[in-house]
Amino acid sequence: MILVTVLILLPWCAALWLSAQKQAGQRLAMTIALIELLLTLILRFAPDSMGTLGHGLHIPYLGGLWTLHAGPLGSTLALLCALLIPVSLAFAWRLPEFRSLASAVLVMAGALFGIFYAQNVLMFYIFYEILALAGAFLILRSGHKNRAAALQFLLYTFVGSLLFLVALVVVYVLHGQQTGVYNFSILQLADTRISAGLGIWLFLGMVAGLAVKMPLFPLHSWAASGYGHAAPAGSVFLSGAAVTAGAYGLIHFAIPMLPQAALEFAPVGIILGAIGTLYGAFLALNAANLRLFAAWASVSHMNLVALGLFALQSQAIHGSVFLLIAHGVVSAGLFGVVSVMENRGLTGEWAGLGGLFRRAPRLGAWMLFFFLAGMGLPGLANFPGEFLSLAGAFRVLPWAAALATLGILAGVVYFLRAYERIMLGPLNHTLPETLKDLQQGEWLLFWVLGLLTLWLGLDPQVILSHLGILLSTHSAELIQGGGHGV
């Protein structure tokens, strides 16, 4: 309990401290990030160290607002998130806006840890909102400092999450009327009896709030302007870690609360995911610059995650959770490459690129590596996740899964085409004469991300073997009884 409380509050205190300082404070931010990584490692691999589950901040009618619990899924995602904090900070190391970027990332990290360890749904919601606000702040204060993009991100997420809140309150009031216990704890709310007609509306409300963060297909359009305008180092965190909050909310809160409605919504969810995968791929094919390219590639993969989730089938959910984690690492690599290029003064517009491999072969090699991972090359991180999601979804709704497979195929095309535009071909004359290749620190970062990608790809059992326990604790009945089967 104390350990998790420290985990959540420490980055917030650090962010507060940073925003009050005049100097940049890289060392402090990085120290905090590494402490957080250590804490999440402890919590993931020695869950007993968490101690007793406390019910802090008990408020009548709302339940214990600071009630924490550690599930394997939450701890694993927290570990991913904690890994991405130092990565993101390191990519941002020399940016002039490091201070605001670091405080936004740290606030987001604290909120994410809160999300992953929350047992009270209202607490989850509060952290979810803080995450959105900090994300908007990140878009506002880094990169192009575009206010419109930040506002768009904020409006999308807040409209969605307030609809989530209304749906949640309906479940809460129904539960209170049925049992006399008014409490926002997920353990209580998960046993509410809800009529089918109302349930589907409530589930739609929850999907509006949670899927917007993933981002699922019709709610995805903030992603282009958000990732496109934030500094790529910030997008590392935004696309790798922040999006997992939506998926986690669906798996952990929305589906267990409304299993029947989830099952009814499943075909729609699968179709939306499939369309999103394909559509994201086409947009990536057509992207105007490198940032947007990485953004759409991430959207396409996240829609595949959604497809796997909504298939509500054991194999597909395994694949989808795996892909969620793999996407975090690979996306960090992609945006990391973009960040490295922008640090060297390259704009990322296609017109200013070409033949870069000759100038920076190491960068070119790592870019190829992450592009191959993004394509879903077997042996790299994305492949097991993509394969399992699709294999599961084929059993439920074959034609939609086929559509999504086309999206994967398109992925091969757009990644190779982008690589050709950036690295291959004749040397672009507008490139600066002296272009530094990767330096020590950057090299180390890519090695860390690259080894992780390779490890996840070669030995997916590292995560998959735990998912059995992990999903059974969340929604065993759902998957074995009510869902689409094993």
Binding site: L154, L155, L162, L163, L165
Partner: protein
């Protein structure tokens, strides 16, 4: 006359007001804010003691004592705060006297159980504003806004008087809860109650009776808007709570006014483009959220009382922050403000977020209670409208936070050490006051 304990808070404040009016003649004006603040705190304490006491026409029930204590403390805080503001240099005694009169009116409004007392309370709290909004030392815009306020508030008072007359015509009683049935027993009563609702909606600027609010917020001196938004409106909300709690039939018109206010307020605020006007228009939306709670039955009454309280707190915070800025600023010069008054700048930023409903500030918990009350009453459409409205409100509140504004001469920002303490206290209240919620409800 027998001693009536429920009158004690009123007597304390009223006698302090009299002393304050006399003080100018004795050139003791500069002590008056402290005396006034102390008497307000004493009034708050006596309400705490009188909690649930039923007097002749006053009843300190749950919502009345909650709001009464809040109003007294808010006036005290406001008086201590403006004691350091240059606008109080002239005629300090009269100024404090007027503000205490306002408090007397407000306390009557929240606790009165008789229509006549409600009317007296309304007049007592409206009349001081005529003078306050055009206080010597403020500009032409303030004069204009005072004139507009006088005209429109006069109209609202007249409407209220007509309503009282009609209800009296209907059942021959001036009690809010008449001996037989409720006030809407016959057609006159019905019309009268509607007239009361309209008059009070006018005062809290609910749409479609909102036309005055932006002009006043733009023109009036910021220190007095602490009292207009944080005390005056809250007291009117208290009167509305009494009225609707006694007359459940009003819930439908209240729901309609609430929905209109939420839509109109948000749209107008988004298009305002001027900081003060934006706050004025968003006050319409907040009146709408308050009424949305009021339309939701018995649970809604509690939610409405808490919403009124929280709304008042947020207003006090906002206008305390704005008091440091020059009167005619159309955006907040954040960098200059942060340099000169860092904590106050923090408070201002936090209140903007709280007004938008950002968790974990009390603004969020107040809205959450309103949503719970609406859902509980099966008014799903109001809950959804409220959710959409407050999501939309982030667009303009955050624009106010983000918009880069440069002040040509930073020296024009007031700089007061003591305000930082207020601001720190305000930040703590806005962030953590919801922890006290369980104690307030019992």
């Amino acid at each position: 006359m027998a001693y009536n304990p429920t009158l004690l808070p009123l007597l304390i404040v009223a006698s302090a007001a009299l002393i304050a009016f006399l003080a100018d003649a004795l050139t003791l004006g500069r002590f008056m804010p402290w005396l006034g603040g102390a008497s307000s705190i004493a009034a708050g304490a006596s309400i705490f003691v009188e909690h649930m006491a039923l007097g002749a026409d006053l009843y300190w029930d749950l919502s009345a004592s909650l709001l009464g204590i809040y109003l007294s403390l808010a006036v005290a805080a406001g008086l201590f705060f403006i004691a350091f503001h240059p606008i109080t240099r002239k005629m300090t005694g009269s100024l404090v006297g007027l503000l205490l009169t306002l408090l007397v009116g407000s306390l009557i409004l929240v606790s009165a159980q008789s229509l006549l007392l409600l009317f007296i309370g309304l007049e007592l709290q409206v009349l001081p504003f005529f003078a306050l909004l055009a206080w010597p030392g403020s500009g032409r815009a303030a004069l204009e806004s005072a004139f507009k306020y006088a005209l429109l508030a006069g109209l609202a008072s007249a409407q209220f008087a007509i309503g009282v007359a009609l209800i009296y015509l209907g059942d021959g009683s001036l009690a809010v809860i008449p001996p037989m049935g409720d006030m809407t027993a016959n057609v006159f009563g019905m019309m009268g109650v509607l007239a009361l609702l309209v008059a009070l909606s006018f005062e809290i600027a609910a749409a479609p009776f909102h036309a005055w609010v932006a002009d006043i917020y733009q023109g009036a001196p910021a220190p007095f808007l602490i009292f207009l938004g944080g005390v005056g409106k809250v007291a009117i909300m208290g009167a509305l709570i009494t009225l609707v709690a006694a007359t459940p039939k009003l819930e439908i018109p209240v729901a309609i006014i609430a929905a209109t206010s939420i839509v109109v307020g948000n749209v107008l605020a988004y298009r305002a483009g001027h900081l003060r006007r934006m706050l004025g228009y968003s006050a319409i939306a907040h009146a709408g959220y308050f009424l949305a709670a009021l339309a939701a039955g018995p649970l809604g009454i509690i939610a409405a009382a808490i919403y009124a309280l929280v709304y008042g707190l947020m207003n006090v915070g906002t206008f305390m922050g704005l008091s440091a800025l020059p009167e005619n600023s159309i955006a907040i010069p954040w960098s200059a403000l942060r340099e000169r008054q860092p904590v106050l700048a923090g408070l201002l930023g936090l209140t903007l977020l709280a007004l938008a409903g950002m968790p974990p500030s009390i603004g969020f918990f107040a809205k959450l209670l309103v949503i719970i009350a609406d859902v509980h009453d099966q008014a799903y459409w109001l809950a959804i409208l409220l959710a959409l409205g407050s999501a939309f409100s982030f667009a303009y509140y955050l624009s106010a936070l983000w918009k880069p504004a440069v002040l040509s001469n930073p020296e024009r920002l007031l700089r007061r050490r003591s305000w930082e303490t207020f601001a720190a206290l305000g930040i703590v209240i806005l962030l953590f006051a919801w922890l006290l919620m369980p104690y307030g409800l019992s």
